[in-house]
């Protein structure tokens, strides 16, 4: 009995240790914008044993692929479609698993961000935006201190081109709330810079990206945007 319990405890401890290692590896890959590592981790993870880690890895892969996608010009249709397919595959894998998680603010935030990676065109915005907005709103409703959820909620307002400025300002307010909750949240700093750039305040936008870069010297988007501005037609 004891030995079985011991085995179980050891197994849990081993699993916990592995999970902690994987979690740390995902965090490192995310911090370094290392798509290769993120893809390898996602391939190695067992979804049944650690669904949450798989979701994190899937979201990271989708978001890092997304950066590649944004940098690929529309004239390179084949390459864009290939990257797009990889993003969709990672996001759908994450979305399938997120259904298995207990309902929480974070699960809804993950859902919102995964849906966000699917939105790469106006057409896809039409198809997925409402689901994303519902998911981020639910995430905030369930936990008003979830800083990442505010960033998810701000994305449609900031990144949708052609919308009126009040939408950007509404998005900026959500980002400010996220930064109040977590002043070092990299995604919030990047998005704030983007919103300010759109509003014409380039100095403040650069300050925001500089802050993100000082917090994470490997922050590739901040580096690129400081050099040449954000992409002209970003989606979510």
């Amino acid at each position: 009995m004891m030995s079985r319990l011991g085995t179980a405890v050891v197994a849990v401890l081993v699993a916990g240790g592995a999970a902690a290692r994987s979690n740390s590896a995902i965090a490192d890959a995310g911090r370094n914008y290392d798509l290769e590592s993120a893809t390898r981790i996602l391939a190695e993870l067992d979804p049944e044993a650690r669904p949450r880690l798989v979701i994190d890895a899937a979201l990271l892969v989708a978001e890092l692929e997304r950066i590649e996608f944004e940098q690929t010009p529309t004239s390179e249709g084949v390459a864009r479609r290939e990257i797009g397919e990889r993003i969709d595959a990672a996001a759908r894998r994450g979305l399938d698993l997120v259904e298995l998680l207990a309902e929480s603010s974070e699960s809804w935030r993950l859902r919102a961000d995964l849906i966000g990676t699917l939105i790469r065109s106006k057409y896809r915005g039409k198809r997925h935006k409402a689901r994303m907005e519902r998911a981020s709103a639910t995430a905030i409703e369930l936990d008003r201190t979830n800083a990442k959820a505010y960033v998810s909620a701000a994305k449609p307002d900031v990144l949708k081109p052609g919308r009126e400025r009040p939408d950007i300002e509404k998005g900026l307010a959500l980002i400010q709330r996220a930064l109040e909750l977590d002043p070092e949240l990299e995604s919030a700093l990047l998005l704030r810079g983007h919103a300010l750039w759109e509003l014409g305040d380039q100095a403040q936008a650069r300050a925001s990206w500089t802050q993100a870069l000082s917090l994470n010297p490997a922050c590739r988007p901040a580096e690129q945007w400081l050099e040449s501005g954000p992409p002209e037609n970003p989606r979510l």
Binding site: T74, G77, R81, S121
Partner: protein
């Protein structure tokens, strides 16, 4: 003989001609349709209002067939091409499924694009064919773009498509057709004019039987044509499609003048010394040549009353050119004769003269038979005139082997109509008012039901599509938004659709447009369609608020008015010409006798057109004027000669015979040299040039025949009254 004076004259003409020739490269041609629109008419003012409120209705349509059509790699090619086309100067915007694919679908979801296209009839017969195999890329040109710029954009669009690997795209639209017409006419003229000049020269060589008179005749004609064209340049005028008739007209009539001088000289040279022969020849032909040129010039000056600037300019230039021809003939021609001399009349000359004399004498001898035959010919020609149509279809200007024609047939069969007929609608208010006006939708449906209308593009359809997109692309939401939701729909509209709506509805001015894309029709059918549009407007309760307009309608109306104006001018010219003859010959009887022979070529030009199915258009109607000029030229010479002979006491029959014998070589040489030149143009792939050659040939031959048969028959009974000094 003062050779120095003659030499100085030749040098002076050479210097002036060199100066004039140096101006010719600057001579521009402008085929812009705007030149043919009389801005003072109510329809032109309506069109101007349309242009002020909406972007240009000029477009280039690239029709691309591919199987399967929704192939991602094919769309990649098209996206690349469209992106490059958008960067071209003069392009306002591009409407196409590849644009939608790039801007809205992120160049990713081609299957979803296919589903969106099938969800509503919005794109049908505009951006995609009914069989879903052909895509339409509409390149809208900016309204400030002129004819030359439009032609440049057409070339650049074609180059972009070829470089992008879409070389098989069919490029069509009014701008493409105009550019092709300009290109083909220039190419054909470049290719056929040297041959025409060569054949004409060969004919002159054969008929004169010597090189020197040919050189003199050619030099006189060339100097006159160059001088006339240079005058146009000095006045800052541009050539138009009507001006294409200018050079041949001046060439023919100036050739006629110099040939008369040369023929007369050669005839006299057989019995007189050179100096005396020149002096007598000048005395003999100066008066009829000047009178003929003056009468024709006065007739041409009547064109200055036209409402169309290119016609007025043609009238002035042609009139000036004819008078210049007289100066050149009796200045340069005379001096060249004095310097180089020529052989006396050849046996061929004499033979031609004798034949002409016999024909004239026979016609005069059997005057009643001749008059009867002429009467029958005039009656037959006149009876054919009702068959004459004033229709015009620019597609028929080019031969079926031209690529643009094949492209037109492809685009028309696969995709849509290519001639836009616009309906400008006033007082529609803003967009929220627009959705509450079902009669606009009804009108669009009525217009679309008309035969020949492939598609009616309406702002309501754009609003439907915007509403569908606003409701996440649900197919059953392809309906007009309710008035209270319009603001929301507009606020969230994609810029692509917003631009499309702005091109159809000017909210600030409260004006909208319906664009009917019409298959190519004869001009009369197009006008009839516009009339039926007017009926629909009345039936739809939009009287006074909706008006058909657009570039094509303006052009069709202008063209009709142009033909009517030229016919009126021809009538005025006839009156002026005969008044000039009356004044010049100081004889009302001679003038009346010259009426029939001069009218026969004109009647027969129109009759030939009617019988050959050649429509009366601004180009072909010019030939009647040329026919009149040629006929008058020939008959004035004959009338003067007969009158002189009769005043000398020569008996009527002999007066007619000897005059025809003396003038026969000149009349025949001019006619056959021109006919030989025209033969080179008969095979032209540019249909107006072909028609011009056919009709000018007919006019020349009929004019010669009338002057050698009908005029002698009429003159047989003529007895001049001696002038009292």
């Amino acid at each position: 003989m003062n050779h120095l004076r003659e030499l100085l004259t030749v040098v002076a003409f050479s210097v002036l001609t060199a100066f004039a020739a140096s101006r010719l490269p600057d001579l521009e041609s402008d085929h812009a349709f705007e030149r043919w629109i009389d801005p003072t008419t109510p329809s032109a003012r309506l069109y101007e209002e349309f242009r002020e409120n909406f972007p240009s209705d000029q477009f280039i349509l690239a029709s691309v067939t591919h199987d399967p059509p929704f192939d991602p790699s094919h769309f990649d090619l098209l996206v690349d091409a469209v992106s490059r086309i958008e960067e071209l100067e003069g392009v306002a915007r591009v409407s196409s499924l590849p644009t939608l694919f790039r801007d809205v679908f992120g160049s990713e979801d081609v299957a979803d694009l296919a589903a969106e296209v099938s969800s509503a009839p919005f794109y049908d017969r505009l951006l995609i064919s009914d069989d879903r195999r052909t895509l339409g890329i509409f390149v809208h040109l900016s309204s400030a773009t002129g004819a030359a710029e439009r032609a440049r954009v057409v070339r650049e669009v074609r180059t972009v498509l070829e470089k992008a690997g879409v070389a098989d795209a069919a490029l069509v639209g009014p701008s493409v057709l105009n550019a092709a017409i300009d290109e083909v006419s220039d190419r054909e003229l470049r290719a056929s004019l040297p041959t025409a000049a060569l054949l004409s020269t060969l004919a002159l060589l054969v008929l004169f039987g010597a090189l020197r008179p040919v050189l003199i005749a050619l030099a006189c004609s060339a100097v006159t044509v160059i001088g006339t064209l240079a005058l146009g340049d000095l006045l800052g005028w541009k050539l138009s499609m009507i001006s294409t008739a200018l050079a041949p007209l001046i060439w023919v009539l100036s050739l006629s003048g110099s040939t008369h001088l040369l023929a007369s000289y050669r005839r006299l040279r057989a019995t007189r010394p050179r100096e005396e022969a020149i002096r007598h020849a000048v005395v003999e032909v100066a008066r009829p040549c000047s009178l003929a040129a003056a009468t024709t010039a006065i007739g041409l000056l009547s064109l200055t009353a036209s409402g169309f600037r290119p016609i007025r300019e043609f009238g002035v230039l042609a009139g000036a050119g004819l008078m210049l021809g007289v100066i050149v003939t009796f200045g340069l021609g005379r001096s060249m004769l004095a310097l180089v001399d020529t052989t006396p009349a050849s046996r061929l000359d004499l033979g031609v003269g004798r034949a002409a004399g016999r024909l004239a004498a026979a016609s005069a001898r059997h005057r009643w038979l001749t008059l009867a035959v002429a009467g029958v010919a005039i009656a037959a020609g006149t009876s054919a005139l009702p068959l004459l149509s004033a229709d015009s279809n620019p597609l028929r200007f080019l031969g079926p082997t031209e690529r643009v024609i094949a492209d037109y047939h492809h685009a028309l069969e696969a995709l849509t109509g290519l001639s836009p007929l616009e309906v400008l609608i006033d007082e529609v208010g803003g967009v929220d008012d627009l959705v509450q006006q079902p009669h606009l939708d009804e009108l669009a449906a009525r217009l679309a039901s008309e035969p020949g209308v492939a598609k009616v593009v309406s702002p309501m359809d754009v609003l439907r599509k915007m509403n569908q997109w606003h409701h996440d692309l649900e197919a059953d939401r392809y309906i007009l938004p309710t008035a209270d939701r319009v603001e929301d729909v507009l606020a969230n509209a994609d810029p692509l659709f917003a631009a499309e709506l702005a091109s159809m509805h000017n909210a600030e001015a409260g004006k909208a447009r319906l664009t009917a894309l019409v298959t190519p029709l004869e001009s009369s059918d197009f006008l009839a369609l516009a009339e039926r549009f007017q009926d629909h407007i009345i039936a739809g309760g939009l009287v006074g608020r909706a008006h058909p307009t657009g570039t094509v309608l303006q052009l069709v109306r202008s063209q009709g008015e142009l033909v009517r104006s030229q016919l009126r001018s021809l009538g005025v010219a006839l009156v002026l010409v005969f008044m000039s003859i009356a004044v010049g010959l100081r004889s009302l009887r001679m003038t009346l006798l010259s009426l029939a022979p001069n009218l026969v070529p004109v009647v027969w030009v129109f009759a030939s057109m009617a019988l050959a199915g050649i429509p009366l258009d601004p180009g072909t109607v010019m030939v009647a004027g040329i026919a009149l000029g040629i006929a008058v030229d020939d008959s004035v010479h004959l009338l003067t000669a007969v009158r002189r002979a009769r005043l000398r006491g020569v008996r009527p029959l002999e007066a007619v015979r000897s005059s025809a014998e003396a003038l026969g070589p000149a009349l025949c040489i001019t006619t056959f040299a021109v006919v030989a030149g025209m033969a080179a143009l008969l095979g032209s792939a540019f249909v107006p040039i072909h028609y011009f050659a056919v009709l000018t040939t007919a006019a020349m031959l009929v004019a010669l025949l009338a002057d050698l048969t009908l005029l002698p028959a009429l003159l047989r009974g003529y007895t001049p009254r001696p002038r009292v000094r």
